[in-house]
């Protein structure tokens, strides 16, 4: 039976995350965007929320909640509403944890998961994108070739988050058997060259790096035996949820501003041109969220959730750009000044269709 209600646990998580995003993340967003540095205290505080640990089974040291894509989208939206760059940093562990949980072997689980159950923040990393304008997930240039008991991986990656500090990096490559395969690489694997931190238009708070993978030889056991495609689907949904968070942030800020700001003798929100723009933004945010919920739910319940995910992404990638662009427009000249966060949200909002890699899985 169709039901849009969060269950009690989801509701609780949502409230916790939303409060943290508003009270702790948002106030740090501007400086993190300007300086590229996220305060360590914030990271530690976020870790205490137990978001990552919560999703890891007790046998590996986690709190053992059932990992749920729906819950994941709620967390992702909530944190990204605070700040996208910081959210990506805080949730980076998921790139490794989710990969291992959903596609890892027992050995990989035993090796990796306990590491993410301590009381100190541990980041994770994943190498997906490649530095071509026409990058497409379905045609990865990075290749993985079987050679005896090993795989040899070669290629160039970009937009790899927290590559320098993460104990593990999940590398996606074109395999010989499957078009997309995933490998778990330990930090310091020889042949993995991490370049200078990248400069991007948005998500400046989150470190990303170009990574050259020069004929890197890994044992067959480094391959994640599960579906790499499934992992990418999950991450597409999580990103989409973050896009909704960014759009929501911009909408709410624009509403508040428009109710404060006067022009021509009334609040600008009392002008149809502004008010109707806000209404359309609100409809887009709600519609995108519902589509994302459906996509997340489908990942768990449908055999093939590709249609739901693609519809959600298609809608949300457009919506987040339109909404954040209108967020700037509502503020007019002030929207262009970095004192207000709306321009940052527009820069961040533009990223999603880029992360989508001109492509799907």
């Amino acid at each position: 039976m169709i039901d849009f209600e969060l269950d009690e646990e989801q509701q609780l998580i949502k409230e916790t995350v939303t409060a943290f995003a508003a009270d702790v993340v948002r106030p740090a967003a501007h400086d993190a965007d300007e300086t590229g540095v996220i305060p360590e205290g914030l990271v530690a505080q976020a870790w205490e929320l137990g978001i990552i640990q919560n999703s890891i089974p007790e046998e590996y040291g986690g709190y053992g909640s059932t990992p749920s894509t729906v819950t994941g989208t709620i967390v992702a939206e909530g944190l990204a509403e605070g700040d996208l760059g910081i959210a990506l940093h805080l949730l980076s562990a998921r790139l490794v944890v989710d990969a291992v949980m959903h596609a890892g072997s027992d050995e990989q689980k035993k090796e990796v998961l306990p590491l993410y159950c301590t009381d100190k923040f541990v980041s994770g990393s994943a190498a997906v994108l490649e530095p071509q304008w026409n990058f497409s997930l379905s045609e990865l240039q990075t290749s993985a070739k079987r050679d005896g008991n090993d795989y040899v991986i070669s290629g160039t990656k970009c937009y790899v988050p927290l590559a320098k500090t993460s104990p593990y990096m999940v590398v996606f490559a074109r395999g010989e058997e499957e078009p997309i395969e995933a490998f778990l690489l330990k930090a310091g694997t020889p042949g993995v060259e991490i370049g200078e931190r990248e400069g991007l238009m948005g998500i400046k708070a989150c470190e990303t790096y170009p990574v050259a993978i020069n004929d890197v030889r890994v044992p067959a056991s480094a391959k994640l035996p599960g579906s790499a495609r499934g992992l990418l689907r999950r991450s597409r949904v999580a990103q989409s949820a973050m896009a909704v968070g960014v759009a929501k942030a911009s909408l709410d800020y624009a509403i508040e501003y428009a109710k404060e700001r006067e022009a021509f003798g009334v609040k600008i929100a009392q002008k149809q041109a502004i008010a109707f723009m806000l209404a359309d933004m609100a409809i887009d945010v709600d519609a995108a969220r519902l589509l994302n919920w459906e996509a997340a739910w489908s990942v768990e319940h449908n055999e093939d959730p590709s249609r739901e995910i693609t519809l959600a992404r298609s809608y949300t990638d457009n919506a987040v750009m339109t909404v954040t662009d209108n967020g700037v427009q509502v503020l007019g000249g002030h929207g262009f000044i970095r004192e207000h966060p709306v321009e940052m949200w527009a820069r961040n909002g533009r990223g999603f269709s880029v992360f989508e890699g001109m492509a799907s899985v």
Binding site: Q270, A275, L278, I283, D286, A287, L311, M358, S360
Partner: protein
């Protein structure tokens, strides 16, 4: 959270899909092409089905179509899925033919008003025995030539004269008005003012039965689409109706649900229904696009690389996304109503999105199908013509933007208009 229809909802969906496919689609072209003719056989079938359904099921058929569902479910204590199932059924019927769906003999919006505001006696008189005898229609007459969305401008007057009300004025855009008054023994609920100087509070609704002297159906409009549906212009020239035929109190009360606000609240139920109907039309077009592509050996790959996608694939995916967005917004509005939650904002969001999305989706479908899309040999062009009204009636896109805007801004109608 759950995105799967319940078993019973699925069953209703299938049942109504079968009606749409077998009883509506085969005659869809004919009653579009030959406007102002009567699909009598279809009416008889639906009438018999409604009767049978009414007798066999706890939930009355007309309620399921949204007529009486709204007020009931607003009062409901425990979550039901009446409204949601209504939306699903109407999507199916409109997938069949939106104009025919609007023409199905039933108490309609007039019945909804009686169900919502009527006294037990009125309900008994006008609803309880509605399905006796030959097919009948109920209708609602609000709009007048000089106003559209601004319904406080009602100029039709109701003057008490002893045991009677005397109604005078002209009504337009009355869906099923001719069928209710001239072609069956039905009724129309007419909005009229007791005192033009007292604004909204003085606007009341009155049940006007077929055969009332002084009531004339002047004209049935020629329309762009939904041509099977009759859109009547009605003149009331000193039309006398019993005093008891007023809905609600005759007092002029300024505030609250008994007054104009209560009347407006019925939109919370009707807007998701119109949205669902719009979605049915859009889905018809999309299904036809998919079918045509499939016949040419083209399947849409939802995980194709965006770079390699043809324009066609991209367009189809965007159309589907728009439609699904509208559907989920609509289902949410229904779900809230089923839970007894106030849903004005969500109902307007759904209506606003659905009207706009389906207008675009059907326009795109015509474009994508080129010479086939534009030809009256197929139904795609009809669906484009049918779709547009959904962007207009039960509140235009702009009116619904206004309602959403007021809601998110916390503004009154004085602050934002």
């Amino acid at each position: 959270m759950n995105f799967e229809l319940s078993k019973s909802a699925k069953a209703r969906k299938e049942m109504f899909h079968a009606i749409a496919e077998n009883m509506m689609r085969p005659i869809s072209h004919q009653y579009d092409e030959f406007e102002h003719t009567e699909p009598d056989e279809f009416f008889q079938m639906m009438w018999q089905a409604s009767k049978a359904n009414r007798e066999s099921s706890r939930v009355a058929f007309e309620d399921e179509e949204g007529d009486g569902a709204a007020p009931d479910s607003l009062k409901a204590k425990k979550p039901s899925e009446n409204m949601l199932v209504t939306a699903i059924q109407i999507e199916e019927l409109s997938w069949g033919d939106c104009g025919l769906y609007l023409s199905i003999p039933n108490p309609g919006l007039g019945g909804a008003a009686v169900g919502g505001l009527g006294t037990p006696e009125q309900k008994k008189r006008y609803l309880a025995d509605f399905y006796d005898g030959e097919p009948r229609w109920g209708a609602m007459a609000i709009t007048e030539p000089h106003f559209g969305s601004d319904s406080k401008q009602v100029a039709t007057t109701a003057v008490r004269d002893g045991d009677e009300w005397v109604l005078t004025g002209t009504k337009i855009f009355c869906t099923a008005g001719e069928r209710a008054l001239d072609k069956s023994d039905g009724f129309v609920v007419v909005w009229a003012t007791l005192d033009k100087n007292k604004g909204r509070a003085a606007i009341k609704s009155f049940i006007v039965a077929a055969g009332t002297p002084g009531v004339t159906v002047d004209r049935v409009e020629d329309k762009m689409g939904i041509r099977a549906s009759d859109t009547a212009v009605i003149t009331l020239d000193n039309a006398r109706i019993p005093y008891d035929n007023i809905l609600g109190t005759a007092e002029i009360i300024e505030k609250g649900r008994a007054g104009f606000g209560g009347v407006m609240a019925t939109f919370d139920a009707t807007r998701p229904v119109v949205a669902a109907s719009a979605i049915g039309v859009g889905r018809a077009a999309l299904d036809f696009v998919h079918e045509t592509l499939r016949d040419s050996g083209i399947e849409i790959h939802y995980e194709a690389s965006r770079r390699q996608m043809t324009v066609l694939e991209r367009e189809v995916i965007e159309m589907e996304a728009q439609l699904q967005a509208a559907r989920l917004l609509t289902w949410r509005a229904c779900w809230m109503m089923d839970r007894g939650e106030r849903n004005s904002r969500e109902a307007s969001m759904a209506k606003c999105k659905a009207g706009a999305a389906v207008t675009k989706v059907t326009q795109k479908a015509v474009e994508l199908l080129g010479p086939m899309g534009y030809s009256r040999k197929y139904l795609v062009e009809k669906w484009m013509r049918d779709a547009k009204i959904n962007d207009i009636f039960e509140g235009t896109q702009q009116i619904n933007q206004m309602i959403v805007a007021r809601s998110i801004l916390g503004y009154s109608s004085a602050e934002l208009n």
